[in-house]
């Protein structure tokens, strides 16, 4: 439970206690698929996996920050699509240079996020409903910008998703890794991060302490939105297209990753690094099941079961650790 306590004594036990359960889950999954799926435990498969997770990782990091602050953002998938489409429009129709277009896409995402944060925080409306509204609005706008067409953007974004020669992983992956670390750092080492935890624990107490909660909430949501924009760029780069349908349903995957990683939906608790492990659990499961060629019913039943089990095991482990 006490992930936030940064204590430097007994570092190994500490690390094990914090990440142990998840690591075991990941190893079990890897082992299982390694045995049953051919060519699963190969460099190619692992690199493929690494190169396909940057977008969901980046989304999940943003979601973790928002969840920790006691919010939720259901619009991440739609905002991803909207910023990707906006990027396509800026690049293809307006022919802006890549860096400017990217900046524009991320800024648009940040605006959507900031708006979510502002409305929910300033008017004390549940974030769930505000972001549900934003989900619809952003998706509609994405259709509107693209005229409901998938747009080909060519290889201009290619450097983003192409594997870097000696490493085998793409620039996206490295950026995503950096985002994870930056998120963890933000949470523990900055005023904003500490305020996020405080607000998530008890917003009323924070207000009683004379602190305004709107500004930090807007910032956090804007970060989450900006990360959606980044994820949109990553996805567009990977597919060389911008697609107004992209990211549908990704909000639930992102939340699942956070919760598997132990982030509390009631706010106040969570860790970005653990969220990353949650993403790994989900993506190993997906890839493994695809390589096994499991049928759709089985895929879904197994996915659901593993999601529940991994959280269940973690909870049982913690309870026994307390005793």
């Amino acid at each position: 439970m006490k992930d936030n306590a940064v204590s430097s004594n007994r570092p190994i036990q500490q690390t094990l206690a914090t990440y142990g359960g998840l690591l075991v889950a990941i190893l079990v999954l890897l082992g299982f698929f390694g045995v049953f799926a051919k060519n699963f435990l190969t460099t190619t498969t692992l690199l493929t996996m690494a190169n396909s997770i940057p977008d969901i990782t980046v989304l999940a990091v943003g979601m973790t920050l928002v969840l920790i602050a006691g919010g939720i953002d259901l619009s991440v998938g739609s905002v991803l699509a909207l910023s990707a489409c906006f990027l396509g429009w800026l690049m293809v129709d307006l022919k802006l240079p890549l860096w400017l277009a990217s900046l524009g896409a991320i800024a648009l995402g940040a605006c959507c996020g900031g708006l979510n944060g502002w409305i929910s925080s300033a008017f004390r409306i549940p974030a769930f409903i505000v972001t549900l509204g934003m989900l619809e609005i952003a998706r509609g706008s994405a259709y509107w910008i693209t005229d409901s067409n998938t747009k080909y953007v060519g290889s201009s974004l290619g450097w983003f998703s192409d594997p870097i020669a000696p490493l085998g992983v793409s620039a996206s992956f490295l950026i995503a890794a950096a985002v994870v670390l930056a998120g963890q750092w933000l949470l523990h080492q900055t005023v904003l991060g500490r305020l996020a935890i405080a607000i998530g624990t008890n917003a009323e107490s924070v207000r009683m302490a004379g602190i305004r909660t709107t500004a930090p909430m807007v910032t956090l949501y804007a970060i989450c939105g900006g990360l959606c924009g980044l994820a949109g760029m990553m996805q567009s780069a990977r597919l060389s297209t911008v697609d107004p349908n992209s990211g549908a349903g990704m909000e639930l995957s992102a939340i699942a990753a956070c919760v598997i990683g132990g982030t509390s939906l009631r706010g106040g608790q969570g860790s970005v690094v653990r969220t990353f492990f949650g993403v790994l659990v989900i993506s190993i499961l997906q890839t493994g099941l695809a390589q096994l060629g499991a049928t759709d019913p089985i895929k879904r039943i197994v996915t659901g079961g593993v999601i529940i089990l991994s959280v269940l095991l973690d909870s049982l482990r913690k309870q026994s650790a307390i005793r």
């Binding site: 080909y152 060389s240 695809a290 879904r300």
Partner: protein, 302 residues
């Protein structure tokens, strides 16, 4: 009914090639029939090849379909037979597959010509012409309507190539017969949404004579709306895909017609082409148009 030819299959090799069939969504009857057909073909020809079938959860999730193709490349399959969820977005990842030395065959939904050209790629296509199929359904409907009658269209997801093709086919047929399309909305391929939208269409346009649905699921929703509005006798419904529920409805006279693209054969054709290419990498693949049949009460076995 067209049958896949079993004659030209290569002989069994000691190192069986692995073929990945990547579809849109296994949750859809059309694709589950397709998968079923492919599996059956594989079990009949098990010495020739191995088969992995994969679909995505949501037809719109392009990223996941692209990821699956990457994963199949990593799983070292020799050929990929793909029904792309999007005609544009899948091209780059298929180019990766080709670069990795895989045989790629496109079925069902044709990849975009321009983008194939832009990525300098040739992929053989096996599939039906959705536009002509929809047009023939529309023409059959037009026979029972008068010029000037009002009809409405339920479209699929707008971004999907099939949806556009079918809508264009319907529109062409209606234009040819002088029938007026008064409303055209997307119900995203879903029965329940189609029900709500069709009900509203019936209320907004009381003189509606027919609803053309771009797939059978939406046709079922439209039928329910018509029944609820008590207009079973005046409003007709046509669909596309020939799922079993639609056949039932046609038999009972609640639906006029649908189109069959022979999903079970589609994948088989693709797999056969892939096997041929595997055996003889230098052969020049040709696109192959598969038949789309009009299904009416008359053409169904009772």
């Amino acid at each position: 009914q067209p049958k896949a030819s079993n004659t030209s299959l290569p002989p069994a090799s000691p190192d069986k090639p692995k073929i990945a069939l990547v579809m849109k969504s296994l949750a859809n009857e059309f694709f589950s029939t397709m998968a079923e057909g492919a599996k059956q073909h594989q079990s009949q020809n098990s010495p020739q090849y191995e088969l992995i079938v994969n679909g995505i959860k949501d037809e719109r999730d392009l990223a996941r379909q692209a990821a699956i193709i990457d994963e199949m490349i990593a799983a070292k399959v020799q050929a990929i037979v793909v029904a792309p969820a999007d005609s544009k977005a899948l091209v780059p990842v298929l180019r990766r597959a080709k670069l990795a030395g895989l045989v790629v065959v496109n079925i069902d939904n044709k990849l975009d010509e321009e983008i194939l050209k832009a990525e300098s790629l040739t992929v053989p296509f096996v599939g039906p012409n959705n536009r002509l199929g929809a047009q023939s359904v529309g023409q059959y409907l037009a026979k029972s309507l008068k010029p000037g009658d009002q009809v409405a269209v339920l479209e699929g997801i707008r971004t999907s190539f099939n949806a556009t093709q079918r809508r264009l086919g319907f529109e062409q047929a209606m234009k040819d017969a002088g029938i007026q399309i008064v409303d055209s909305q997307s119900a995203n391929w879903e029965t329940n949404q189609a029900n709500t939208i069709a009900a509203s269409m019936l209320n907004a346009h009381p003189d509606l004579k027919a609803i053309l649905a771009a797939n059978d699921s939406m046709a079922l929703g439209a039928m329910a709306a018509i029944k609820a509005a008590n207009k079973t006798d005046t409003v007709q419904v046509v669909g596309f895909d020939n799922i079993s529920a639609a056949q039932e409805a046609i038999r009972q006279g609640k639906m006029l017609a649908t189109a069959d693209q022979h999903g079970d054969q589609l994948a088989v054709y693709g797999i056969e082409l892939a096997l041929k290419l595997l055996q003889d990498p230098n052969s020049i693949p040709e696109d192959r148009e598969t038949p789309v049949d009009l299904i009416t009460a008359g053409s169904l076995p009772q």
